[in-house]
Symmetry: C2
């Protein structure tokens, strides 16, 4: 049965009498028990008076609001009539961006959708800078307040769109990386980035929104997706939930590329995972012209091999502002296929012609001239950005080979490869194969799963099984630490060419020998 994180349960209790002097709250619990598989709900002390008084004021008939945590159900409120909608917020708590939906918990319908930049960015664009900031006096408090502020702003926005009071949002599920979860809970992230990289907690017990000073209903349960390790967070567990990797008879793989690349391979019997720094070049903020996949981002690029003409598509169809991850991969693959870069990822000035200009940090390739761009500035790809992408793609392939090697699975054995994250939403697997970033498999093997972090959080809101599965996954997943893995370092070196030093691994990709 799909039990949402919070339910509104209709109750009609017999009124108290001289022949039945059971206390108000005990009467309510007793009337509820048959709907809770006989479990006696617990009432937290600070909700006791409110629940009992509202039950009595409603004439012992109405709707009980019950949080369905793992363990005993928690009775938190009583309403005289059913609310038109019992709403819960699912949150993808990203390092750079927060994305959320408001769901009708009874039907699963989406009531609103919104996103927002992470308010922590002013303390550092990347997680490491923020973890260091957390070590300063008041640093953790600042980071905690910033993220709570962003979540609150997002909740207010969802409420505005849906027309519900923000305090009527009755549940929150949060899917984020391990560091973001630490900041969100205001707990010290110090050891996350220090060997042996240990979180303070993987699976925090659910708390109530009031304890975190959230503006949604104070008794709303806050359910955080658990993490497997410092670099394998709840967002990845969400990915597994969303893709169903843990329920499949065939061995599949899930790849999520954000700031890090996280990969998990397995089936319903076993799951093995690792993570590594692979993504910086693919996210906004690192590549100079890089940007998040949003309006104005070039998401696809084609270069005519004869004329050298560049065709591109932007998200939202407007004028281009920059390149998102998938656009960058398309561009570099096309530059390789048109031989404007060599197998080391270096510009070939003769081939690139007058699109290549000398900038302060070396060559820059003009993708879109200033007169065609959104802001009058040309969209360019620098050699520096290209080098970063080469490192990322090498890391990515090295991660994939190291992981599959650990478990003795060949790429060809993989039934399906789910591609998650902002990366997965827009990427063309074919172009990633050309670069040697993803293994050379039939394109049908690849299946984008969109923002699976958000999808997982939505599942958590709606399905008790997803909540149970998520906790089981923490126990089930074996995590390999790549930060100290020798094999990974060797494989990384071999992967720093397009498509690879061993081009037999990429039979479908043309190989251009020499310069």
């Amino acid at each position: 049965m799909l039990i949402p994180l919070v339910r509104a349960l209709a109750v009609a209790a017999p009124p108290p009498s001289l022949g039945d002097n059971t206390g108000d709250l005990d009467r309510l619990k007793k009337a509820l028990a048959p709907q809770l598989a006989g479990a006696m709900p617990v009432v937290p002390y600070h909700r006791l008076s409110k629940v009992a008084e509202r039950f009595r004021a409603a004439g012992f008939t109405g709707v009980a609001i019950v949080n369905n945590m793992v363990g005993a159900p928690v009775l938190v409120d009583f309403l005289p009539q059913p609310q038109p909608v019992l709403a819960g917020m699912a949150l993808d708590l990203g390092t750079t961006h927060l994305e959320a939906t408001l769901l009708d918990l009874a039907t699963g319908a989406t009531l609103a959708r919104a996103d927002l930049e992470n308010g922590q960015i002013r303390f550092g664009a990347d997680i490491l800078t923020r973890i260091h900031h957390a070590g300063k006096e008041e640093g953790l408090t600042e980071l905690h307040r910033a993220v709570i502020g962003s979540v609150n702003a997002l909740a207010v926005e969802l409420a505005r769109i849906s027309g519900l009071p923000v305090a009527e949002i009755r549940a929150l599920s949060v899917s984020g990386n391990t560091s973001m979860v630490h900041f969100f809970l205001n707990i010290n992230p110090y050891h996350l980035c220090r060997e042996p990289y240990i979180p303070m907690v993987n699976a925090p017990d659910p708390c109530l929104a009031g304890e975190l000073k959230l503006v949604i209903h104070p008794a709303a349960p806050v359910w955080l997706l658990p993490s497997v390790g410092s670099y394998f967070g709840g967002d990845l567990i969400s990915g597994v939930l969303a893709s169903g990797l843990d329920q499949q008879p065939e061995t599949c793989m899930l790849i999520d590329v954000g700031t890090n690349a996280e990969v998990i391979v397995g089936n319903r019997e076993w799951l093995i995972a690792c993570a590594g720094a692979a993504g910086p070049a693919l996210e906004g903020g690192v590549a100079r012209m890089g940007m998040r996949a949003g309006p104005g981002a070039i998401e696809h690029v084609q270069i005519d091999p004869d004329s050298g003409e560049i065709r591109y598509e932007t998200i939202g169809k407007g004028k281009p502002k920059g390149l998102c991850g998938s656009g960058l991969i398309d561009l570099v693959a096309e530059l390789y296929l048109t031989r404007q870069i060599d197998i080391r990822g270096k510009f070939r000035p003769k081939a690139a012609g007058d699109r290549l200009i000398q900038g302060s940090e070396g060559w820059q390739f003009v993708v879109v001239p200033g007169e065609d761009s959104a802001d009058g500035q040309p969209v360019v790809l620098g050699q520096v950005d290209l080098d970063a992408l080469m490192r990322s793609k090498a890391a990515m392939y090295a991660i994939l080979t190291t992981l599959t090697n650990q478990v003795g699975v060949a790429f060809g054995d993989l039934h399906r490869i789910y591609v998650a994250g902002a990366f997965g939403r827009h990427i063309s697997p074919r172009q990633a194969i050309v670069l040697g970033m993803l293994p050379d498999l039939p394109l049908a093997t690849y299946e984008p799963v969109g923002n699976s972090s958000l999808v997982g959080a939505q599942r958590i809101l709606l399905e008790s099984q997803a909540r149970e599965r998520s906790l089981e996954l923490v126990r089930k997943i074996t995590y390999i630490e790549l930060n100290v893995n020798q094999e990974f370092m060797l494989r990384f070196s071999g992967s720093r060419f397009i498509p690879h030093t061993d081009h037999a691994l990429f039979p479908s990709v043309p190989f251009f020998d020499g310069e």
Copy 2:
């Protein structure tokens, strides 16, 4: 197994490594689980950082402090070394008086004992006055603060005696009547004294001491004995636990007389209870010379039938200050046996002689002349006090007969009658029989059980079975409301004579016909 409410469990977890990256808190939970019958402990949000940081600081080895609530165990602290003593406070939360012991939770040994007047008395000596006070603006808050203040003062005193810091008291069990529990929890007692007399809650879920602003350890569980009704509180459930009434094959009875008389009859199969106003005359504050059973209280009285000489014993052997309940019963029984009062409980001036003086409110009998008393004031028994006692004893006997009649049990069928409360500690059942207050049974039937409210609270601290039994008792006990019982009113009238209008009921008591 006897699991105390809080346990200190030794843990030696493997330290984290690159090969074992489990989060700190998850590591601790995992290491603890085998000692918790496999149950995963829950960590409340506000304890998360503290527990995880202390576990790490201690090198992943030390002692976990686990609250053993009904349901999931709650992990609240971690210490590098076992404490010499893990202490819990058992509290009898009386209307007039608080009595408490500090126990070593591991051994059950008593570390300290203390008592204190209930700080709520300034808002009213009796519960009804306080319930009315709670209806005024800030009234409930005042009453709540007063009782919390008293409990805190008592905790400080227990800590002082035992030499432990008060914040190191790690558990609290509370046994009190239903109104006192409402005040303690700061919840509205309005309906307790209004037909049909319904508590806001019978069995509140345990909370933590910090939520009630208690000065003991903020994460100490506060476990309240549940009530059966407004007039049958947790103190009575304690009495059942202490006497074992619910586990006996033979039908027994428990009588507790404080401000009210509460009676429960039954065996391990069934339990039936009722309560009624019976005690006011027997507690300090109502009879003019009445006082609590404490130093200086006359607890036993004998009158020489020939000389009329009065012999008495005081608690503590000092000079007398007044009469406690048992002294009052002795005195009136002796006055009857020496024919100084008649069967209606009225003074017989001719027989009483010069001990009887005319006061502003009628006759007064001088028990102790001023020159022999503690404060120079004579200890007297007025006709007014005598009338009150006659009403109380009549109510008591009427309650007992009404209850046994309900279930078709004759007094002679009772295997044992446990007598609890301040009343039970000192009373001579023989004299109560003379008055017609208790049934005319062999004296061996009566067994005093002392302050069973406190004993029950102690059991709750030390034994998980007692906690489970107490909750089961709420479901098991059938409560009869006497406030509207016709039969009770009839029986009350018949009981307003010494020993009874039907003196065949009291064959062992001499009957003096006429004036």
